[in-house]
């Protein structure tokens, strides 16, 4: 079996194992796994409304996945996508609601505000990593909680003690009559186009620019890159900023497309953390991220149908997602197993 084949098979097997263990969990808890997965399938592809909503759900997953994948490619673990997403969401909604501009200016400006806020939120961990060698995992985790609480406080201040922001103006909205009517009036919006564009952007940066080459080089081997004359600190910060911008865009999509405003939150959206799963499953490549996002976005949205259709708590899907990450992380064991099988076949 070729190496390339194995690389493709590992995530596929991880997904299958995840679904299998999920089925066992349902079985042991006294639920019917077949009915559960049928309900999940129906929740994803059941009708055109469900399909529209699924694609809507996939949109931020692509961007969150890109954010994690971009950082991974440059040797950084941005676990702060969640926080960057939250500040991006807020900034986009703020610009979308507070200014009154023609659409050609207002919409791009609101989207950019989201990206800028996310980038800013990732800048600090990058700076601390570059200047003081403080591990970005710890700082970004803390930044997540700061984002959550600060944005909640900002929403309270803005709305005069309420728990939601004003709605964005029509000129800043990503809503689409066309896409919506196509899918039985789901909340599908133009964000998916933005997300797909960003996939191309990430590919372009990493594969076609000198900056991208430097970023990857630093990720591979810091010392060699430094010896070759690259500035390590600058590249670390730049990588975090770009990653944060992707994450901020994910938030902007939620704010300008799906919801049109923002509520105070008791906890995280979970999109940022699921972005880790998306990136890992997609082997940190732009194209792979699309596949990962389609899978996890669909699972996440389809799960909502499970309590109604099969009386199974939707949390079971979160268990499946966690298991998939776990099995992808254990790729070494799967790889070993695959090479053993293929060697046996060759021996015959």
């Amino acid at each position: 079996m070729s190496n390339r084949m194995i690389n493709l098979l590992v995530p596929a097997i991880a997904v299958i194992l995840g679904l299998l263990v999920g089925a066992i969990v349902m079985l042991v808890s006294g639920y019917d796994p077949v009915a559960g997965y049928i309900a999940l399938w129906q929740g994803i592809f059941g009708d055109s409304y469900a399909i529209g909503e699924t694609i809507r759900q996939i949109t931020p997953y692509i961007l969150a996945g890109l954010a994690v994948a971009f950082a991974f490619r440059t040797g950084l673990f941005n676990i702060g996508v969640e926080g960057q997403l939250i500040v991006g969401w807020f900034a986009a909604v703020y610009v979308g609601a507070a200014f009154d501009l023609p659409k050609v200016i207002h919409l791009p400006l609101s989207i950019l505000a989201g990206a800028a806020a996310g980038a800013l939120w990732a800048f600090l961990p990058g700076l601390l990593k570059a200047k003081m060698k403080i591990h970005e995992v710890i700082v970004t985790i803390m930044m997540n909680y700061i984002a959550l609480h600060v944005v909640n406080a900002l929403i309270k201040t803005w709305s005069g003690g309420g728990d939601k922001t004003d709605r964005i103006l029509e000129s800043a909205s990503l809503r689409s009559e066309f896409l919506s009517s196509l899918t039985d009036y789901s909340r599908l919006h133009y964000g998916i186009l933005v997300a797909l564009l960003m996939v191309v952007v990430m590919w372009f940066i990493l594969e076609k620019t000198t900056t991208g080459f430097e970023l990857k080089a630093v990720g591979f081997n810091e010392h060699a890159s430094e010896y070759a004359g690259m500035k390590i600190g600058k590249n670390i910060i730049l990588s975090m900023v770009i990653s944060g911008a992707f994450a901020g865009l994910a938030g902007a999509m939620e704010g300008l497309g799906t919801f049109g405003n923002m509520y105070t939150r008791g906890g995280f959206t979970g999109i940022g953390f699921d972005g880790i799963a998306v990136a890992l499953l997609g082997a940190n490549t732009p194209l792979g991220v699309i596949f990962g996002a389609v899978l996890f976005g669909s699972l996440k949205y389809g799960a909502l149908n499970m309590p109604n259709a099969a009386q199974i708590p939707e949390e079971v899907v979160q268990i499946v997602i966690a298991l998939v990450i776990f099995f992808v992380a254990c790729g070494y064991a799967i790889r070993l197993f695959l090479t053993k099988i293929s060697k046996k076949k060759e021996a015959k």
Binding site: I138, V139, I141, I276, I319, A322, L323
Partner: protein, 319 residues
């Protein structure tokens, strides 16, 4: 309110918040000293918090006043077993330990919420009837100034946490097991040549860390929230991880850092009734512990270097 009154008010709350962090941070010390990065502390703590509440609710009739303490043991066992997953992935299967930890975190929360939905048919559990009690330490609480600050209305679990920190220091620095643990984390190949079973020590360390994080979680849920829901632990495990780093992977250092973070959290809770601090809106106060953590890491700690082999799976025969 005078300065002393504020201290009488703040210090007990700080210590109460510190206890779960101390336990969990000590768990982190065990794991990382052996060379296994344990970002999974959060998930292990969630599991402990859930099991603690569950056990307390179901066995209150049987064990009466002792229930919260036996619930700690139950949480310890379950989280210890749960940690084996992280051990298998990161020791035997050579997984990226941070990624495996993230998976455990998600898995812990998902399993706990799934079971909560299944058993209680709602997003959070019922409230427990018997929480971990607090009491005045006889004689000591009569000492002026220090008495009311440190020994009045203290949770038994807080005393336990400090005791365990000292025991951990003894185990890691004064016993043969501790020496092996540190050796395995610094230079596994050298330890291996001296006949130490690297993987066995690491397995034991990760399981101990799970057990301690489980106790930490169960203490938190049985003193602070008294029920279990999606936001019960909400970052305590990560805070414990930061405390461990802040304490430079040393048990007593970790304990000190945990008390400091406990203080930061207490500030967010009792802040609204303290002059000056109450001017800050509560929303921002809630962000304070995390800001303080970053400042602590950036400003006071200096360069933090963990055990040398931390995060690297040991592969026999490779240099």
């Amino acid at each position: 309110m005078g300065f002393l009154d504020i201290l009488y008010f703040m210090v007990p709350v700080s210590i109460a918040y510190a206890a779960p962090l101390i336990f969990t941070a000590l768990g982190g010390v065990f794991s990382e000293r052996s060379g296994v990065v344990n970002i999974a502390l959060e998930g292990l703590m969630v599991m402990g918090a859930f099991i603690g509440i569950l056990f307390n609710l179901f066995f209150f009739e049987t064990f009466g006043a002792w229930t919260p303490w036996i619930a700690l043991i139950a949480a310890m066992i379950v989280s210890g077993v749960f940690a084996i997953l992280h051990a298998v992935a990161s020791i035997s299967f050579r997984a990226d330990q941070v990624v495996s930890g993230v998976a455990i975190n998600m898995l812990g929360l998902a399993i706990a919420l799934f079971l909560t939905k299944m058993i209680f048919d709602k997003g959070q559990t019922d409230f427990i009837k018997k929480a971990i009690p607090n009491f005045d330490v006889p004689f000591l609480s009569d000492i002026p100034v220090i008495g009311p600050m440190l020994f009045k209305g203290i949770y038994g679990s807080s005393i336990l946490a400090i005791a365990v920190a000292v025991i951990t220091w003894y185990v890691i620095y004064k016993t043969p097991f501790g020496l092996r643990l540190r050796a395995v984390g610094e230079h596994p190949m050298a330890a291996d040549t001296m006949g130490v079973n690297v993987n066995k020590i690491r397995y034991i360390a990760v399981i101990i860390s799970g057990a301690l994080a489980g106790i930490g979680g169960a203490i938190y849920s049985q003193t602070m929230t008294r029920d279990f829901g999606h936001a019960t632990i909400n970052g305590q495990g990560f805070m414990a991880l930061a405390a461990m780093i802040f304490g430079k992977w040393h048990p007593i250092g970790a304990m000190g850092a945990a008390i400091f973070f406990g203080f930061a959290q207490a500030l967010a809770v009792v802040g609204p009734s303290i002059p000056l601090i109450k001017e800050i809106p509560t929303g921002y106060l809630h962000a304070l512990p995390y800001v303080v953590t970053i400042l602590a890491l950036a400003g006071f700690i200096g360069k933090a270097t963990g055990p040398k082999a931390n995060g690297k799976p040991y592969i026999k025969g490779s240099r």
